[in-house]
């Protein structure tokens, strides 16, 4: 048990508990707060993986901006425990859970077995890992690649954000016109 393993199990357990809490709480506010816990635990996992930039963006964009948007809407609409009328009854819920567990088994099977066919764990991979430990991926590398080879996708991303911005304005504006 090295330090990475201990931290992995702590962060992993916290993120799993948070995720289960998201789908268990009846009140959306509690779900949103549990989701923030999950995001922070995942930021910890990213740090553990050496992805410091991604961890920072995770906290700033996800746990910060996106979750504030969620909480803002929940409070704006004053959603208490909303009626879950038509929510799946006990039997169907059981079916959904069983199907989910099947999906989880598939995912775990792929995660564990697909690696057998790849070079993971081979001597080359171990050499690569050793080389990576000496030269970990840094924010510098991400920036360099983002603004050279992936410049076009980066610009397209800004267009997507612009389209979202305009879309939201149009959605809200049309509401006002129908009211007048």
């Amino acid at each position: 048990m090295n330090a990475e393993m201990i931290l992995f199990f702590i962060f992993g357990a916290v993120s799993l508990i948070g995720a289960i809490a998201v789908i268990s709480f009846r009140h959306p506010i509690y779900s949103a707060l549990s989701l923030i816990v999950t995001f922070f635990a995942q930021a910890g996992l990213f740090v553990l993986l050496g992805a410091h930039f991604v961890a920072a963006v995770q906290v700033i964009v996800y746990a910060g901006a996106i979750m504030v948007l969620f909480l803002f809407v929940i409070m704006l609409l004053n959603l208490g425990t909303l009626s879950e009328k038509g929510a799946l009854t006990g039997k169907l819920k059981g079916v959904a859970t069983v199907l989910g567990i099947l999906l989880a088994i598939q995912g775990i099977y792929i995660a564990v077995n697909a690696l057998n066919n790849t070079e993971v764990g081979s001597v080359e991979a171990q050499e690569k890992a050793a080389a990576l430990a000496e030269n970990p991926i840094e924010t510098y590398d991400i920036g360099k690649l983002l603004f050279s080879e992936y410049l076009l996708p980066f610009e397209v991303t800004s267009l997507i954000l612009l389209a979202a911005l305009i879309g939201v304005i149009v959605l809200v504006k049309r509401e006002n016109q129908t009211e007048n």
């Binding site: 289960i20 789908i23 959306p28 995001f39 050496g50 609409l77 590398d141 690649l145 879309g167």
Partner: protein
């Protein structure tokens, strides 16, 4: 020595599954949205883990793009939820059935 890739992939698969179960069993549109975020995050975790394993930067770049798209999606989705709530006074996805889906 690093912790094996399979640990991270299994965790990612479990988080993704919890997101799928949430979408299946909950009827509140906002909570369904949160479950979609959960699934996107599980995919991000797999991206970063594999990125480290292969020693390639691209995995982390894709996480960046996924986050940008997720931000746009949340903004639009929540705007739609707000306008649906204004019209129907509910965001229960079973009661919002004008499209007969």
């Amino acid at each position: 020595m690093f912790l094996g890739l399979e640990y991270y992939l299994v965790l990612s698969a479990l988080l993704f599954t919890i997101g799928v179960i949430g979408v299946l069993i909950r009827r509140n549109a906002i909570i369904i949205f949160m479950c979609i975020e959960l699934m996107l995050n599980a995919a991000n975790l797999a991206f970063v883990a594999i990125s480290r394993d292969l020693g390639q930067v691209e995995g982390q770049l894709f996480v960046f793009f996924v986050m940008a798209v997720a931000a746009a999606e949340v903004a639009i989705g929540l705007a739609i939820i707000v306008s649906v709530f204004k019209h129907r006074e509910t965001i229960n996805v079973d009661e919002v059935n004008s499209l007969k889906g």
